[in-house]
Amino acid sequence: MKAPPFILLSSRYRILKKRLHPLTKEFGLTLYVLRKSRLAMIGAVIVALFIFLAIFGELIAPYDPNEIDIAARFSVPTREHLLGTDKLGRDVFSRILVGARYTIRSGLTVLAIAVPTGIILGGIAGLFGGWLDEMIMRITDVFLAFPYLILAMSFSAALGPSLFNAMLALSLVWWPLYTRLVRGQALAVRETAYVEAATSKGASKWNLIFKHILPNCLSPILVTFTLDMGAIITAAAALSFLGFGAQPPLSEWGRMVSDGRQYLFQAWWVSLFPGFAIALTVLGFNLLGDGIRDALDPKLRRITEVKWKKRIRS
């Protein structure tokens, strides 16, 4: 007689749960450590708010970000215009709300291009070694040999200044960091006994990269990326500030700072508020990144783990 399907399902679920247990346990601990840190939670709230604005900014903005109202130009912050208006009478508050999406887009684009490139190149360099490693790392050296901003500016100028090209340019200069990180990790993992065991069982190189090396790189990559997100946002805003990124009338934050710069002494709110938005967002990512780093740090983890277990038991 066959067992009724729901029993089969529940037993499968139990097996799955058991298999995943070490993973979920670790994840639960990470979340617990993260929640214990007040600063990390402040960071998480800022980041959450930022993501919320990036998605719904347009809906909650009181004005159309590009609505021109010359009569109300350079209005000081008032109840109608919370953060004042710019030289065309556009509402600065609405523009900041809507601008969040351009900022997060630059971060995500770099994530989507630079990180996978870094992982693949770093993995290849670390695992295969030899001339391939030498070649990849020397190219990386060249990229790291001069200031990323100049390089990104040249790329962006070469491609034609636009927000998308600025992001592309940033991705082009950002991958060497991850290549180095993954290569270092790959070199360390390559020497471990379990990789040796996998190799002796006939695992392919790609299998090694995706099954053994990549999972071991995930936490350093996660930490680096969260802490890096701030730097990417700043760099993207800087490119727009210099005129190599977003073009008017896009309400990108760096662009807004640069547009208001001329009128700094006449109407400080036009450029200082968008800049504050950048600083706050970057601060959020830095706080969250610090928190995640601490939460994944084995030393700090074990100390908290004891407390955590006690709490779960009670």
């Binding site: 500016m153 100028a157 070469a158 500030f241 700094l264």
Partner: protein
């Protein structure tokens, strides 16, 4: 390997990296969809003029020939070519702009080290006390604030609101230029008025530039110091009854200082990146502003010259950092297998 051979090897390694930088800049310039010669000649130029410019800068030749011509001129005559927009030799332009940038970056670098490292050490020693919290807030603000924004904020406060410091520009007081470094020249001239003016003008851009690096150094130093303070040999030193001051400074600091020094080289690179932004905002007549202007005008010879100089400075600063390890930590044998 002796220190001298190590330095020699590292200096030789400069050549392929600089060559790589050169090739990369040329490849980027090759990929530019716009026609640089047309941009240089201006909108009213006749086709023959544009063609002449193309011939002059070898723009009709294939990429590898362009690089070959460039290298030949550089190696034989130490010539970086003629800027397409200022019509002066790039080498002269860079020589004229370098002191201003170096003065700014070096002063900011010094400021970041002198404030950042001690603050990090104190913060770690007084962990979770008021001064630690203050230091951490300063550090976090430093690494989170975009340079171009803090520059505007400081201009607004210290120039417009308080009127304490000038907002833009380098000192214009006429003095004899011995070196091009205004601070140094004023001292050599014995002109104290010029010195104070130069110094007052340097404060705002340098402080802005230093802010990020300082914050970063505080964070690195604090973390490294905390780790060392928890190590066994510090516990041992405590058990031996050594005075706190000796433990902290002779035992802990000496080991904790390595990570901050490692990032100093990278930091200097950031400062150079930052000068591009800052010199634009503070109308500071340096290489950064020159580079930003050249990129806008697709002035290829100027861009290539600038990138080469900056790459050289960055590689050299990393080399100095690596050498300084061996002075601070005798265990590090330079060139040996440390990994």
């Amino acid at each position: 390997m002796t220190l001298r051979r190590y330095i020699l090897r590292r200096l030789l390694l400069l050549i392929p990296i600089l060559l790589g930088v050169l090739i990369m800049v040329f490849v980027i310039s090759y990929l530019i969809p716009a026609d640089p010669a047309r941009a240089w000649a201006g909108p009213q130029a006749r086709p023959a003029q544009v063609e002449a410019l193309r011939e002059q800068y070898h723009l009709n030749d294939p990429l590898h020939m362009q690089i070959y011509y460039y290298l030949k001129k550089l190696i034989l005559h130490f010539d970086l070519g003629i800027s397409a927009t200022t019509h002066r030799p790039v080498m002269n332009d860079l020589k004229a702009f370098f002191p201003a940038t170096f003065e700014l970056a070096f002063f900011a670098f010094l400021l970041a080290i002198v404030i950042g490292i001690p603050l990090g050490v104190i913060s770690a020693l007084k962990r979770n006390r008021l001064i630690d919290h203050v230091a951490r807030i300063i550090a976090l603000t430093g690494v989170s604030t975009p340079l171009f924004w803090s520059a505007l904020l400081l201009q607004f406060i210290f120039y417009y609101k308080l009127g304490w410091l000038p907002a833009v520009g380098r000192s214009m007081i006429q003095i004899h230029r011995y070196t091009g470094f205004i601070l140094l020249d004023s001292v050599l001239n014995g002109n104290w008025e010029a010195l104070s003016d130069a110094f007052r003008r340097l404060i705002l851009p340098a402080v802005t530039l230093a802010f990020y690096s300082m914050g970063y150094l505080v964070r690195i130093t604090r973390g490294s110091m905390l780790e060392v303070l928890e190590s066994d040999y510090v516990a041992m030193a405590k058990a031996k009854g050594l005075p706190e001051r000796i433990i902290n400074y002779r035992h802990a600091l000496k080991n904790a200082i390595i990570p901050p020094i490692t990032v100093l080289g990278i930091n200097f690179g950031w400062l150079l990146s930052g000068t591009v932004l800052l010199e634009t905002i503070f109308a500071w007549p340096g290489m950064g502003r020159y580079a930003a202007g050249s990129i806008v005008q697709v002035d290829l010879p100027a861009i290539v010259g600038y990138t080469l100089v900056v790459a050289l400075v960055m590689i050299l600063s990393n080399l100095i950092v690596d050498i300084s390890y061996s002075i601070i930590d005798p265990r590090v044998r330079v060139g040996g297998k440390v990994e």
